[in-house]
């Protein structure tokens, strides 16, 4: 049962109780990083205060507790996305970016050759572009791109052609700039028809709705805790279990070996081989608390609530600024998430954000690490507002007042 009461969620977030410039903070940058509930912070403090120890290979009580907590976190995160084998399919990483680097450098390097091709899209975050460019520059495969239409959707008319002979489709579940939600199940079916695997960038989508990796029938999912009300410094790559056999170790070092001698090493079995070094243990504990917290609110309830807020923001922008502000992304709620990029006519996004800051309003100006997408729409940057489950209508109201001021100042 969902326990989602927006005002309660708001009071759960300590940071929302502070002021900036003598005004209550209006946090509209959850797509960059979501705010952290008190219980997440407390769970990490509890680790440091009562069972801070390194994981694995120790027999004393606190080390066993830390190991249990770390492995329980893996299961919690796996269950959150409905992994078939939650204990065996979640590789912890530093975040979404490292998850893609792991995918490219482990699966990619072992499975791609100079005669292969992969398919990416024009709306990807640099995290799902640069690791592939790096690998391409090393071994020389072909990278093909699904383009973005004028109405901010993937152009699926070329999908079958692009997938022909491709080994992987790697695509975002939800654009961090446009808010577009991509038809992942349809893309997965198409990829599999062509014998390709599909990787999904879940950084933006995972915190804002139900994610069911089995239902979507995907092969890899990359996501990060800090956009899910969890701590920074940890994320995950979910890998369908059968594929782990095709993935050699990633980073080398302690924890990832079965044996080491002066002749060389052999890799550990299981997920350890992808997690060299001391993992982010406190962060794993916080990650687990965050997914439990999200589950207690109910992902369907969060999706419905944020959809309502997004709709209100789109209506507010259209009503109050029809001739001054252009939304860069879908303007209806169909297959659309709670990220709203906009362009204020004659006002640079940096200046928009600067004026908004004086009202305590936090939005993000810039290219949002999606420069090819910016180029596609002839923009250097946009301003972007985005919601979390703690956002509410008062945030939108203050944003409107602040935008009036920005427009007036630069009129």
């Amino acid at each position: 049962m969902s326990l989602f009461i927006p005002s309660q969620v708001r009071s759960d977030i300590p940071l929302l109780h502070r002021e900036v410039h003598d005004r209550p903070i209006v946090y509209l940058d959850s797509a960059a990083t979501a705010l952290t509930p008190r219980i997440v912070i407390e769970s990490m403090s509890r680790y440091y205060e009562t069972y801070h120890s390194n994981v694995h290979r120790a027999v004393y009580v606190t080390a066993a507790e830390a190991t249990d907590a770390y492995e329980e976190a893996r299961v919690a995160v796996g269950r959150f996305i409905n992994a078939a084998h939650p204990a065996d399919e979640i590789i912890f990483t530093h975040g979404t970016t490292e998850a893609f680097n792991l995918l490219a450098k482990s699966w990619g390097r072992a499975n791609l050759t100079s005669s292969d091709a992969i398919v990416l899209t024009e709306m990807e975050h640099h995290a799902n572009l640069v690791p592939w460019f790096q690998l391409r520059d090393e071994i020389g495969f072909e990278i093909r791109f699904l383009r973005v239409t004028d109405d901010y959707r993937l152009d699926l008319s070329t999908l079958n052609e692009l997938l022909t002979g491709a080994k992987l489709l790697s695509v975002t579940g939800m654009s961090n700039v446009l808010g577009t939600i991509n038809p992942v199940a349809e893309l997965a079916a198409a990829a599999h028809r062509h014998g390709a695997l599909i990787a999904v960038d879940g950084a933006q989508s995972v915190a804002h709705g139900v994610t069911n990796v089995q239902g979507l029938d995907i092969d890899f999912l990359a996501f990060g805790a800090h956009k899910m009300l969890g701590p920074t410094g940890i994320g995950a790559l979910w890998v369908r279990r059968e594929l782990l056999a095709s993935m050699p170790p990633f980073l080398g070092g302690g924890g990832m070996i079965a044996d080491v001698s002066l002749d060389g090493f052999s890799a550990a079995s299981g997920l350890s081989k992808y997690e060299a070094g001391t993992p982010p243990i406190a962060e794993a504990v916080g990650f687990a608390t965050a997914v439990h917290y999200l589950e207690s609110l109910g992902m369907e309830a969060i999706a419905a609530y944020e959809s309502q807020l997004t709709s209100s923001l789109l209506t507010g922008l259209a009503t109050n600024f029809a001739d001054r502000i252009r939304v860069i992304g879908p303007t209806t709620m169909e297959a659309r998430g709670s990220v709203v990029s906009f362009d204020v006519d004659g006002v640079h996004p940096h200046d928009v954000a600067q004026v908004l800051d004086q009202f305590g309003v936090c939005v993000r100006p810039g290219h949002h690490c999606a420069k090819p997408l910016m180029k596609r729409f002839g923009l250097a940057a946009t301003a972007r507002a985005s919601f979390g489950p703690y956002s509410d209508q008062s945030d939108i109201d203050t944003l409107m007042i602040a935008l009036e001021d920005a427009v007036r100042l630069f009129a």
Partner: protein
């Protein structure tokens, strides 16, 4: 809102709305230098034409926020027609203006007061130092000009 008015002074908004010396020069004889702010995607191109010891013409192209655009416009007006020595001196004074804040933050000895009179309209940019994130916006065109002069 006083802070914001410090940043967005009327002279700055005027130079943003009506940038001076906007455009391009034929290269050669002019020299072209591009500057980027990779964090925000701002791009600026500075064209300079030097004859003998004088910067006889300067044009600015590219795009960016009001601070980077107005700073470039103010810079172009301040250095056009000046001797290279005067141009270098103006650059140094401006950079001094932009570093006052950091020195103050570090509780170092009070820096030499900047000769605001020598800066003329450029002094309008002094409010930028209260917004450290924006200093890079203000200095983009100046660094690009410096690079251009060094390349000559």
């Amino acid at each position: 809102m006083s802070n914001l008015e410090d940043l967005y002074r009327e002279i700055i908004l005027d130079h943003y709305r009506n940038p001076r010396n906007r455009g391009e020069l034929v290269t050669p004889p002019a020299h072209k230098t591009e500057g980027f702010n990779p964090l925000c995607g701002d791009e600026i191109t500075v064209f300079i034409q030097v004859e003998g010891d004088t910067l006889v013409d300067i044009k600015i192209a590219g795009h960016g926020c009001s601070i980077s655009q107005s700073s470039a416009s103010l810079m172009s007006a301040a250095v056009k027609g000046k001797s290279l020595e005067e141009v270098r001196a103006t650059i140094n004074t401006f950079k001094q203006l932009m570093t006052v804040h950091e020195a103050t933050l570090d509780n170092e000895a009070e820096p030499e007061p900047v000769n605001l009179r020598a800066l003329g309209e450029l002094a309008a940019l002094q409010g930028v130092v209260k917004f450290p994130v924006r200093i890079k916006c203000a200095t983009l065109s100046w660094n690009t000009l410096t690079q251009g002069l060094d390349e000559l």
